[in-house]
């Protein structure tokens, strides 16, 4: 008797009418949800919808299914540009991973070892990231000018005139140079993230390792680096997303056509020409194709980020 009452009571407790408190959390989510939906999710979905339409101008209105994607992959004019931009973006990303993030790690380790004046170094390393890409891109373009650029003058003044090259005009190296300039500018961000990661490593572990006779190299390689892996993942994903959305540095240093001969054309500039600017001198954008390019970029990003989430979750699960 008392047992059934207890069950009844429990049931009553379990099935009571939802009260205000149970849903109040939703209210707190609401502002972010509304902003996110209106400014992120809706444009994203709308741009995907747009990629299924064709027409002249800003509001393509003729539904053609996957026609834009078929055009993008079958018409050699579009296909060559797309594959070229995709390849260049991967090279761009690769150089950032190799140079920007490796240097970032190196700087972070040096800064965390509290060398003399590390605050100054930290400021210097981070300073370029506070400038506009258009400004730094333009300055680098001036520095690299083969006629009167600072670098050309420097080389000439030490008798190395034959080393002066049209660096930004050489399709074999200009993408690398632009990637390096971009790496130089943004190296402060991975530095800060790695530095923060290093600072969270407990001193006890590090000291214990030294007490056990570990060398500085062993401590870095066997203790600090493994503990930095989650940070590396985040840095890699941010670099990946940033590079696939990049536009400004190429725009500032070689123009929207990735001159010369599309050798520095990346997804961002390709998308800009397809969807917004068109090709000089006609300058007639094709919004449908542009939206298709944007959707494909989104899918590439989605695949990359999903992969990262999968592996980082699995890591967390394995450790647990």
């Amino acid at each position: 008797m008392s047992q059934t009452r207890a069950i009844k009571l429990k049931k009553a407790y379990q099935w009571r009418m939802p009260r205000w408190d149970d849903w109040s959390w939703g209210l707190f989510l609401l502002p972010a949800l509304v902003v996110y939906t209106v400014f992120m999710a809706f444009p994203l979905i709308n741009s995907m919808r747009l990629s299924l339409y064709t027409g002249v101008g800003l509001s393509p209105d003729r539904f053609i299914g996957l026609g834009n994607y078929i055009e993008l992959f079958s018409n050699p004019i579009w296909r060559d540009r797309f594959l070229n931009a995709l390849q260049n973006t991967f090279i761009f990303f690769g150089i950032h991973m190799l140079v920007q993030n490796t240097l970032g790690l190196l700087f972070a380790v040096l800064l965390s070892s509290s060398i003399k004046g590390h605050n100054l170094y930290r400021m210097i390393i981070f300073a370029p990231a506070t400038l506009s890409v258009l400004v730094t891109g333009f300055l680098w373009r001036l520095i690299l000018n083969p006629q009167w650029g600072a670098l050309a003058n420097l080389l000439k003044s030490v008798g190395l005139e034959s080393w002066v090259q049209p660096w930004l005009g050489n399709p074999d190296i200009n993408l690398i140079i632009i990637s390096l300039v971009s790496s130089w500018q943004w190296v402060g961000l991975p530095t800060m993230m790695f530095l923060a990661g290093l600072l969270t490593i407990s001193d006890e572990i590090v000291e214990a390792a030294y007490v056990d006779g570990g060398t500085a190299w062993q401590v870095f390689w066997k203790i600090k680096l493994p503990l930095l892996v989650p940070t590396m993942g985040i840095v890699a994903v941010l670099t990946f997303v940033g590079n696939f959305n990049a536009f400004d540095v190429v725009y500032a240093m070689s123009g929207v056509r990735g001159e010369p001969g599309y050798s520095t054309d990346i997804m961002g500039t390709f998308f800009y020409r397809a969807a917004i600017a068109g090709e000089h001198p006609v300058a007639q954008p094709n919004m449908g194709i542009g939206a298709a390019v944007a959707t494909l970029t989104f899918m590439i990003l989605m695949a990359g980020v999903s992969l990262w989430i999968y592996f980082s979750r699995r890591r967390a699960y394995d450790q647990a």
Partner: protein, 451 residues
């Protein structure tokens, strides 16, 4: 209560001013009925609309890609305002590379200017076909003052005009008079002479030509299409390519690409990475003796270096060919089909056909030539030097503009890529001509008979 009254007053004031625009008189009797506490701010509104004459103040906006011309255009527009005091025009230019896209966005969003600059040929033709442009076949003064050929870049195939021809630009070779005097050089008469001259200049330690391919369009527009008419036989020759009588890889086109190859050794060191601005500076600083250029740069050189002695000569034809000048129809003026003030805008367009406007414009903006019949005498020495190139020479627009931009791959890009590849040694002139022919044959029917 006060708020309600206030709101009511505003509503009435709005209604009043709206009615005042449509029908001047009747509502004027109404306000006093609810007016008593009229010390409030809305009272300020009705008087603004009070002098409802037919000469109401109208402000038009004008879209353009000429951000450099704000001051000059404002002077021209204020001259118009003096004659038509009730119309003022607000000149609001956009950066050139963004112009077409921005204009299209505005047209589709209904926020486009009343009047706007029109690119020549297919770009504007498309705007007209989509209904964004008002047809101007009944504009007084248009047909009387402009030739059929001048009207055609802003007219349908049947000759219905939708733009007032406005700006022509000329092309030639700028030269540094001091260097030419120093080296005792004379103006080259033939292409072969030009190359000899260039060699002499190079031997003297100067860069012969300031041109560079860092900005790719410059090679297409001010080098290749500047010299091409001399090699393909001007307008008549060009029309034969368009009709299919000639192939785009015939010996004339190969010769035009060969001409680009001829000047390649005389370009500045590192030209692959030098921009248009660098070229201008090289010429300005006297490091380069010549530069394939357009008349639109006259104001630049005059303002940057007033004492700099330079002039211009026409690209010389190869021995035995007739001489031609690329005199390009660059801009027309169009009327927004959805403008609220078409009547006033038409008055301005009509004014643009007068000799008065042509003279004012030609003198305010040297290097941009009015295209009216009987062009006025210009005051600027350099502008006259450019204009005099037309004497005794055939004239034509830039090769790629008519028709060849209408498909993909377009003739402009093909010519540009070919010319740059020839300069950099990546293609022979024959290969460049072949790629032009093959590219156009993909969509341009007359070129398809040539395989």
């Amino acid at each position: 209560m006060r708020y309600k009254l206030f709101a009511l007053l505003i509503l009435i004031a709005l209604l009043f001013s709206a009615c005042a625009q449509a029908t001047p008189e009747p509502p004027a009797a109404e306000p006093p009925a609810v007016e008593p506490p009229a010390a409030e701010p809305p009272a300020a509104e009705p008087p603004a609309a009070e002098p409802p004459t037919s000469q109401e103040q109208v402000t038009l906006t004008m879209g353009s890609w000429r951000v450099d011309d704000i001051e000059q255009m404002n002077r021209i527009l204020s001259a118009f305002n003096e004659q038509y005091p009730h119309i003022s025009i607000n000149f609001d230019p956009t950066n050139p590379p963004d112009y077409n896209a921005v204009l299209r966005t505005q047209l589709e969003g209904g926020t486009a200017p009343d009047l706007f600059y029109l690119r020549s040929f297919s770009t504007s033709r498309q705007l007209y076909e989509e209904g964004f442009l008002e047809p101007l076949d009944d504009l007084p003064g248009l047909r009387e003052n402009f030739s059929e050929a001048t009207l055609s870049p802003w007219a349908t195939e049947d000759g219905l005009p939708y733009g007032v021809p406005f700006i022509a630009v000329s092309h030639g070779i700028y030269y540094n008079q001091d260097i030419f005097n120093e080296l005792n050089l004379s103006i080259p008469e033939t292409w072969e002479d030009l190359l000899t001259t260039a060699q002499t200049i190079q031997d003297a330690g100067y860069t012969p030509f300031a041109n560079a391919s860092g900005d790719e369009w410059t090679i297409a527009e001010i080098v290749f299409m500047n010299l091409a008419p001399n090699f393909i036989g001007g307008r008549e020759g060009r029309l034969e390519y368009l009709s299919g009588e000639r192939c785009f890889n015939d010996e004339n086109v190969v010769a035009a690409f060969q001409a680009v190859a001829d000047i390649a050794p005389y370009l500045p060191a590192g030209q692959e990475a030098l921009t248009y601005y660098d070229s201008q500076q090289l010429f300005l600083m006297g490091e380069a003796a010549m530069w394939f250029g357009g008349s639109w740069d006259i104001p630049f050189y005059e303002s940057e270096a007033p004492d700099f002695g330079w002039s211009v000569f026409a690209v010389p034809p190869p021995a035995g060919n007739e001489a031609h000048v690329t005199f390009h129809m660059d801009a027309g003026m169009g009327l927004n089909a959805t403008s609220q003030n078409k009547e006033e805008a038409r008055l301005f367009l009509e004014w643009m056909t007068t000799p008065e406007f042509a003279e004012l414009f030609g003198n305010e903006l040297p290097g941009f030539f009015p295209v009216r019949n009987n062009p006025p005498q210009l005051a600027n020495e350099h502008a006259n030097a450019f204009l005099s190139l037309n004497e005794g020479r055939g004239q034509d627009v830039r090769w790629a503009w008519p028709v060849l931009l209408d498909g993909s791959p377009d003739g402009y890009t093909l010519m540009q890529n070919g010319a740059i590849a020839v300069i950099n040694g990546d293609m022979t002139p024959q290969e460049a001509a072949d790629s032009l022919q093959d590219g156009l044959a993909q969509w341009f029917e007359p070129a398809q008979n040539c395989q």
